[in-house]
């Protein structure tokens, strides 16, 4: 090439392409298959866990959505009352309105059903065996007005029923789920609960709608059955083609208490309500991938350290620094791609298995009714998790790739001038930069933790956690240096060797303990969060369960057709052994159209300041103005505060109440409001009751009291009773089940962390075998070399554990004080389970040391004489 040609050559011209370098990578993989398999495994496990959780939640939500859409149909819009029910007259107006193709009236009710076999024939008062009650959704429909709106709800008469059975007030059409849960056949009797009584109907056929148990009856029969003459829950409207919904609504000039909505509200509300839970679970599932990223960092760091002579040789032979960096990054990207692909497959298989075994519910209880939904495979999440896997591999490999780029080939070939060697100015500068970055991340973490949630999601808090973890890893060398700091030179060879390595091999130190720090920090944080939550729930249960016995007629406040009258608590109060009785009305109310309904609790409140678990100062009562006590969720979601007012849609006009205080309520995530029973009855005229609390005399027998109650009042048989101890145990069992999945994810993170330790140390010992070979020549026995490795490892592990513990406690505080209130709108006190944390740290130290001993023994099995034969 002449000088002109040289001058004209663009930078990089004449350089090998990355494609041409791929055979080098292939050789490398063949040479160290396990190391690269580990990188693939780290990405695969992380992607699999995160993707499986996403798939399970998506599948459950889409199954619930399908069921809700089937039950609600697909009208252009629905009309509902802001509180209570609609006037039926609106239906006639709609049907006469030009542009309306079909207006379908619906009466909705949540109640209980029983099959004939469990009832006394012809009975209409509640004496049936309570055990056979199955919660059902009842829809009263006009079969003649359904065809355009909700075909899935169309009653399909059985073969021996006439076509007009759809209009028969005594006919019920049941979904497959109801048929299965109640073991019903066509022609059987089915009873629906209204208050404390039962209404018998005949199973006259089926409806196609899926989801939970559903019973469809004629709308007029539903109005009569549930005491709603002339009233409707909603009217579904189908418009003529080309008709604009907004224009029609304007033309209708609806009354102020009527609102129009579109779409499947139930699934939207569930999506909203479960969003924080799903996001938190998704973030938790990403923990494994996050820790996996540090494992990638460890593996690639040590791979680069071990390959330094080869990379230096390539450098001497003309491979540019940029290409060396690209070579490492391309290798990680390819392995990340393989890991991601395998992870997606494993994740889908895991999700399919979990859906089959657990149904759609991972412990949060939001999808408890969704059984074995099909996998909702969508291309979006597949792409996102594949990218996350590859991004993790690239991010983990970035710093080692930069080290490969910065090495000085001539020096590195002689085993000198490596990062961390004394006298390497670039390394010293890089160490200072890393320390500064660590401190900066630490400050950023503090700032991010103070930011409010974004769209209801604590994104800034999660970013704060990530910043804290990265800061911890970046500051590991600084902490180790501090631990080793002492004046004067060590006069003991093993101490000198350990200290000098610790002082100068910062990159190796970070790589070794990065996975320990991250996995332990996250495990500690989750342990602290769960323990704090459990302790707070336990003390909350103590506060909200002061009586000895509790009975309720429905398991959900949504079951508005199951109630009892004042006669039952009055009869209970007269029984021998009963000291005091308190009855409570529980119902759902909507304070705003979009958010999920709030639970209203109406009960006698003689001493609310002591009977409610308050977390706020108490605002004074005002004469003539009913007081209300709100849960933390209501305070956050509706911006209510003590001294302010709320309008409760329990009367016409809505009842204005003065907020007196905020209390803790872990049972109702959408929020609850407690008001005095007298205020409630005066405003709403509603005398219904749903729950009963009974205080017993000191030596009274709960079973005997219950037997007496059931004997004196037949409707008492419809109530499910439990002692305080049973309720407490059940609540904590549900709590533990809810967090079981976090334990599994925590275990995977720890496992990945331990694999990281073993890999790092194993590769380190291999990388240092020449040093150990020299020491053997200088007179060190195998046991002493092992002692060096053990000593250094112990030091790293100790530093990693100390940093992991401190970081974990800080992250725990962020989870307790920021993430939980921002996600679930409730607060808790921070509890430190010292014994469990000590056990966790000890487990990491012991297993880490065992992994180190194993890997060192394994790596040292190569003869020292061979080691010194190799070039540095």
């Amino acid at each position: 090439m002449n000088s002109r040609a040289v001058a004209a050559a663009a930078p990089g011209q004449g350089e090998s392409s990355l494609l041409q370098l791929l055979p080098l990578l292939w050789r490398q993989w063949q040479h160290h298959p396990w190391r690269h398999a580990l990188l693939v495994l780290a990405v695969m496990l992380g992607v699999a866990l995160a993707y499986s959780v996403q798939l399970i939640n998506d599948s459950a939500l889409s199954e619930f959505d399908a069921a809700a859409r089937a039950a609600e149909g697909e009208p252009d819009f629905s009309l509902r009352a802001r509180s209570g029910a609609l006037d039926e007259a609106l239906l006639d107006r709609l049907r006469l309105q030009p542009g309306v193709r079909q207006a379908s009236p619906v009466v909705e009710a949540e109640t209980y059903a029983q099959a004939q076999a469990h009832m006394d024939a012809g009975h209409t008062a509640g004496t049936a065996a309570a055990a056979a009650r199955v919660p059902v959704r009842v829809l009263g429909v006009d079969a003649l007005a359904l065809s355009e709106v909700a075909l899935q709800l169309m009653p399909r008469p059985a073969a021996d029923e006439g076509r007009l059975a759809v209009l028969d007030p005594g006919a019920a059409f049941v979904s497959a789920a109801a048929r299965q849960r109640l073991a019903l056949a066509d022609g059987d009797a089915i009873a629906l609960q209204h208050g404390s009584g039962w209404q018998r109907l005949r199973v006259a056929g089926s409806v196609a709608a899926g989801g939970g148990p559903l019973v469809v009856i004629d709308v007029a029969a539903a109005q009569q059955l549930f005491g709603l003459p002339g009233r409707l829950s909603r009217i579904d409207v189908r418009l003529q083609p080309g008709q604009d919904a907004q224009a029609l609504l304007q033309a209708l000039a609806l009354p102020a208490d009527v609102r129009a909505s579109t779409g499947a509200q139930a699934s939207q509300r569930l999506a909203t309500l479960s969003r924080a839970y799903r996001i938190n679970l998704a973030v938790l599932a990403l923990v494994a991938l996050f820790v996996g990223g540090f494992l990638v960092f460890s593996v690639v760091s040590l791979s680069v350290a071990q390959r330094t002579p080869a990379l230096a040789l390539l450098g001497v032979l003309g491979l540019t620094a940029r290409r060396r960096r690209q070579l490492v990054l391309v290798e990680s990207t390819l392995l990340g791609l393989i890991g991601s692909a395998l992870g997606l497959l494993l994740g889908a298989a895991l999700a399919a298995l979990m859906l089959r075994v657990l149904g759609g519910d991972l412990g949060g209880g939001f999808f408890a009714g969704v059984t074995a939904p099909p996998l909702a495979l969508r291309s979006g999440p597949v792409g996102v998790y594949a990218l996350l896997g590859v991004a993790t591999a690239i991010a983990g490999a970035w710093l080692p790739a930069r080290r490969a780029e910065r090495l000085v080939p001539a020096q590195a070939l002689k085993g000198m001038g490596l990062e961390g060697d004394p006298g390497n100015d670039a390394a010293e500068r890089s160490a200072r930069q890393t320390r500064a970055l660590g401190l900066l991340l630490l400050a950023a973490s503090g700032g991010l933790a103070l930011l409010p949630p974004l769209a209801g999601v604590p994104l800034a808090a999660y970013a704060s956690v990530a910043a804290l973890l990265l800061a911890g890893v970046a500051l590991v060398p600084t902490v180790v240096a501090l631990l080793l700091h002492s004046r004067g030179d060590p006069q003991q060879a093993l101490v000198l060797l350990a200290r000098r390595r610790a002082q100068h091999q910062r990159a190796t130190a970070s790589a070794t303990v990065a996975t320990v720090v991250t996995s332990l920090a996250l495990a500690v944080a989750l342990t602290v969060m769960v323990a704090s939550f459990r302790a707070s729930v336990t003390s909350w249960l103590d506060a909200v369960l002061p009586a000895d016995l509790y009975g309720r007629i429905a398991s959900s406040a949504a079951a508005d057709q199951a109630w009892f009258g004042a006669a039952l608590p009055a009869a209970a109060a007269r029984l021998a052994g009963v000291q005091r009785v308190q009855a409570q009305r529980v119902r759902l109310i909507s304070l705003a159209p979009a958010p999920p309904a709030v639970t209203l609790l109406a009960r006698p409140l003689p001493d609310p300041e002591h009977s409610l678990p308050l977390v706020s100062p108490v605002a004074p009562a005002r004469d003539g103005e009913p007081g209300a006590w709100i849960s933390e969720a209501v305070a956050t979601l509706y911006g209510a505060a003590p001294g302010g007012t709320l309008r409760l849609p329990i009367s016409e006009p809505a009842l204005r109440v003065r907020v007196r205080g905020v209390y803790r309520d872990y049972a109702r995530q959408a929020g609850s409001i407690t008001i005095d029973a007298g205020d409630y009855r005066r405003a709403s005229g509603d005398e219904r009751l749903n729950e009963l609390a009974i205080w017993l005399e000191p030596k009274a027998d709960a079973a005997a009291v219950l037997a007496d109650l059931r004997a004196s009042r037949p409707e008492a048989a419809l109530l499910d009773f439990a002692t305080t101890a049973e309720l407490r145990a059940t609540s904590l069992r549900i709590f533990d089940r809810s967090f079981a999945v976090t334990s599994y994810l925590q275990a995977v993170a720890i496992l990945i962390g331990l694999v990281g330790i073993a890999t790092s140390l194993s590769a380190q010992v291999l990388a240092r075998r020449k040093e150990f070979g020299l020491l053997a020549h200088l007179g060190l026995g195998r046991a002493e070399v092992l002692a060096i490795v053990a000593g250094e490892t112990a030091l790293w592990l100790l530093a990693g554990t100390a940093i992991g513990l401190v970081l974990g406690l800080a992250i725990g505080a962020i989870l307790v004080y920021v993430v939980n209130p921002q996600s679930f709108h409730w607060t808790m006190e921070m509890t430190l389970p010292a014994a469990r944390l000590a056990l966790l740290c000890a487990a990491v130290l012991v297993t880490g040391a065992a992994a180190a001993a194993w890997s060192a023994r394994h790596a040292l099995s190569r003869a020292a004489v061979l080691a010194v034969k190799e070039d540095w």
Binding site: Q411, M416, D421, P422, G423, A493, G773, H777, G779
Partner: protein, 218 residues
């Protein structure tokens, strides 16, 4: 100081050497030459107790290696042997002085003055605090020689110590090694291909598959 009697070594069917017998007295500088692959380095490893011979006997400073366990051999290396390698093998994360001091520290008897004296003796006075990365190849080999002699070993084993050096530097290093061995009154067995090295030796032995032959003696 060193007695090797009828030593044999083989790897499976392949005989490395057999019937090797040699003696090196205190203060003697002996060069061992031979073709590549004839087992010179293996013989040094056997003498150092890092490899086991299949036949024969090795006695170093009165210690029969065949009767010594691993700990005893390690102790012997620590106290009585010094090594110089072709590839320097200076620990990069220790300073020059710390590298030289390592054998003393391993024996639990640090001696800064001795280390200074050794550095001075090998022409590296004032460079003790430097990092190995800041030294040239010749300087690094001088560090290795200082390390091999600092604890006053009775026997120094040197395996191609000038193999990586240019002729001028190699000559200086050899002179230094010779001088240090003489000064310490130690015995030295030097494996080499270098004629310059053999020229400095009291005796030159050739290792062949059939044993050791004397090539030259002064």
């Amino acid at each position: 100081m060193l007695q090797v009697e009828a030593l044999g070594k083989h790897y499976g069917e392949v005989v490395v050497f057999r019937d090797v017998t040699l003696r090196v007295a205190a203060g003697e500088f002996v060069a061992l030459v031979g073709e590549s692959g004839v087992g010179k380095s293996t013989l040094l490893n056997c003498i150092a107790g890092l490899d086991d011979a299949d036949a024969g006997r090795i006695v170093v400073d009165g210690v029969d290696l065949g009767q010594a366990d691993e700990n005893a051999r390690a102790r012997l290396r620590r106290r009585q042997l010094g090594f110089v390698f072709q590839a320097f093998h200076v620990l990069p994360h220790l300073s020059v002085a710390e590298n030289v001091a390592l054998p003393l520290l391993l024996q639990g008897r640090p001696d800064a003055a001795r280390v200074e004296a050794m550095l001075d003796a090998v022409g590296l006075a004032g460079l003790g605090r430097r990092a190995p990365a800041q030294l040239s190849g010749g300087q690094l080999q001088r560090v290795a020689i200082a390390r091999a002699c600092v604890h006053r070993p009775r026997l120094i084993l040197a395996d191609e110590p000038t193999g990586n050096l240019d002729p001028v530097t190699a000559a200086r290093v050899l002179a230094l090694l010779h001088e240090q061995v003489r000064e310490a009154g130690a015995a030295c067995l030097l494996v080499t291909h270098s004629e310059a090295a053999t020229a400095r030796a009291d005796r030159v032995l050739r290792l062949t598959p059939r044993g050791v032959e004397l090539c030259a003696s002064r």
